[in-house]
């Protein structure tokens, strides 16, 4: 049953991965950064957040990509003469009307960042001086926002100010993705997130989870190439040394491995019975494992994949041996071990026929 979609406009996705990576490791190579930029853009990221240090590392920015520059003091506004057209300012800069007007004269699109750790923090945003000069308000914090009350305040801010709303929840309580998704469903114009939620303290909402939610739950942002997630994951792991767990939602290498007989049966008949989206959408393939929880049908299916045939009675005997070995070794069995069991069972079967 499809979910009702409240907002179907294209959402603005801002990436914070590069900023977080570079903040932790200033010796990241320029070419690696540029590579990541292109993959992120292909995946549907509209803006890549950078700061002065990252800009210095990157040197010349790749043409055709958009960057959200995290502005520091005005004395560092040398970046204004370059290709950057989007700027993120701290909320305190809103007091400096002259600087804001200089930025606007240069046709810079302005985003200001506010932090909200409780719902009452949101109410003050619309009353801040010069907030109407902004193109976008980014709200970060939000790590405990579980009730529906804040979503109504979000809508009020949007209606009062007529600005775009960018939500950047922190993941202190493992719910940042859910907070971001809820905001998008209730009128937020975009989200700032990072791959795997990588970032300081608890991290951010996971970019790959947001992108899949946009596709699967909201049916928006059609031009996203999520098949590049494994590539992004590989580069990210190499650059940061951080391993993505095998069961990580969307990006984990094991999320489309299945073994249990009930699931194998369902997936064999129609993969949608147990998959919210096809593995190919995120650059993966499903893989049938054989182990303690397999059923006879899965045994037959796997053997068929290996070019082997057996009767259902033989499959039952093979399954018994598979389960015993799998539990003893506390793992699933690779094809070679399955083949060994198959050979033993078939040979016993042939011997009893001949005798």
């Amino acid at each position: 049953m499809p979910l009702p979609v409240k907002e179907k406009s294209v959402k603005r996705i801002v990436d914070r991965t590069l900023l977080s990576v570079h903040d932790r490791n200033k010796s990241v190579k320029r070419l690696d950064i540029i590579d990541l930029c292109w993959i992120l853009s292909d995946m549907g990221v509209e803006l890549i957040e950078i700061n002065a240090a990252l800009l210095k590392t990157m040197g010349r920015l790749p043409a055709g990509l958009r960057f959200l520059y995290r502005a520091g003091p005005e004395s560092d506004d040398g970046w204004l003469n370059g290709e950057i057209r989007d700027c993120l300012i701290h909320k305190d800069v809103l007091k400096d009307t002259d600087r804001l007007e200089r930025l606007k004269k240069k046709n810079i699109r302005l985003t200001a960042e506010f932090t909200a750790d409780k719902v009452s923090d949101l109410y003050g945003i619309a009353r801040k001086k010069n907030v109407s000069l902004l193109d976008t308000v980014r709200i970060t914090g939000l790590g405990r926002f579980v009730s529906g009350e804040w979503l109504q305040v979000l809508r009020q801010i949007k209606e009062q100010l007529g600005v775009g709303l960018d939500i950047c929840p922190v993941n202190d309580y493992s719910i940042a993705t859910a907070i971001a998704v809820e905001a998008l469903l209730h009128g937020a114009d975009g989200v700032s997130a990072s791959f795997g939620g990588y970032g300081p303290a608890g991290g951010y909402a996971a970019l790959e989870e947001i992108l899949v939610a946009l596709k699967v739950l909201m049916h928006t942002n059609e031009k996203m190439n999520l098949t590049r997630i494994p590539e992004l994951s590989g580069k990210f792991c190499r650059i940061t040394g951080v391993q993505i767990p095998g069961s990580k939602p969307v990006a984990g290498k094991d999320i489309f491995r299945y073994e249990s007989g009930i699931h194998a049966d369902g997936i064999g008949k129609n993969p949608s019975t147990y998959e919210p989206y096809e593995p190919e959408m995120v650059g993966q393939k499903r893989k049938l494992s054989i182990g303690k929880h397999s059923g006879t049908k899965a045994i037959v299916c796997k053997l068929a994949e290996m070019g082997l045939k057996c009767t259902m009675e033989e499959a039952a005997l093979i399954l018994k041996a598979v389960r015993a070995k799998s539990a003893r070794l506390k793992r699933d069995l690779p094809e070679k071990e399955l083949k060994d069991i198959f050979d033993r069972v078939i040979s016993v079967s042939l011997t009893s026929i001949m005798s």
């Binding site: 859910a178 939610a213 069961s247 969307v250 489309f256 491995r257 699931h263 008949k269």
Partner: protein, 265 residues
């Protein structure tokens, strides 16, 4: 707000491809879960027979404070295997989305309702407490969900599990679905959330805020595909966001979690 935890590490967690536990591992984990004060341990699937069934029977005989439950497909043969194990609770999972009913079972809604009634009655006749799971509830017709619940409760089921089998709920929807069911039904509710989009903890918390009395978790979030609601993350989120578990010794929970994960991995 108060919820009981149903731990399904030994069932859904063990279903994760590549995980295989020996009988003695399951017994050891059950004792460790009991030390955490877990309300209910979903011990496994007796219909698998062999060592799986034996280990469930052993867990049921341990005399733990945690209640031991057995998971069943919606068929009488499965249920009978569970009755052999003398568990405290028999759980019967009923596919409720048209997708699963048609594709997986090649049946129709009426068949599901009739068959569920038969299975629940069978377990109740043998004197067991029965809970019923709505498999793939988040992709099911809400009206049909209520019809299935009425049938289950009519035969004596005492609790209904709402299963977000493919992890597509979001917080507000999780909250609204449970609120609606709470309004229409007079039975205890349970949430079983999968983590395909990284929202299992949030959805479980939303369901708890809406009034579910039971939340399904696994140690380390282990489970099919991207797993289930991670137990420790749920406790942490519940404390931080809604003030539950203020007196809980999180360091002890972490120690026990790590010990369980050592047994499993």
């Amino acid at each position: 707000m108060q919820v009981h935890i149903v731990d399904t590490t030994l069932r859904d967690g063990e279903q994760k491809a590549g995980i295989a536990l020996r009988g003695k591992d399951k017994v050891k984990i059950a004792c460790l879960l009991d030390s955490l004060g877990i309300y209910q341990i979903e011990a496994g699937i007796p219909a698998m027979g062999g060592d799986e069934k034996k280990s469930i029977r052993r867990m049921a005989e341990l005399g733990l404070k945690s209640r031991i439950s057995a998971w069943n497909r919606m068929n009488v043969d499965d249920v009978m295997q569970s009755t052999d194990c003398h568990v405290d609770i028999i759980h019967i999972a009923a596919p409720v989305s048209d997708l699963q009913i048609k594709s997986k079972l090649n049946k129709d809604r009426d068949w599901v309702v009739d068959n569920l009634r038969r299975c629940v009655a069978c377990a109740r006749e043998k004197g067991f407490e029965v809970t019923v799971g709505l498999e793939d509830a988040s992709r099911a017709d809400p009206e049909f969900l209520l019809q299935v619940c009425a049938a289950a409760c009519g035969e004596g089921a005492v609790r209904i599990r709402y299963a977000d089998t493919v992890g597509i709920l979001h917080m507000q929807r999780s909250f609204d679905e449970i609120k609606r069911m709470k309004k229409e039904l007079k039975v205890a509710l349970e949430i079983h959330a999968h983590n395909d989009l990284g929202m299992a903890v949030a959805n479980s918390l939303a369901a708890a805020r809406a009034g579910v009395e039971f939340v399904d978790c696994t140690i380390g979030g282990l489970g099919e595909r991207a797993g289930n609601c991670d137990y420790l993350q749920f406790l942490h989120a519940a404390r931080g966001c809604v003030g539950m578990y203020r007196d809980l010794d999180f360091r002890f929970v972490k120690e026990v979690q790590d010990e369980i994960l050592c047994v499993i991995l």
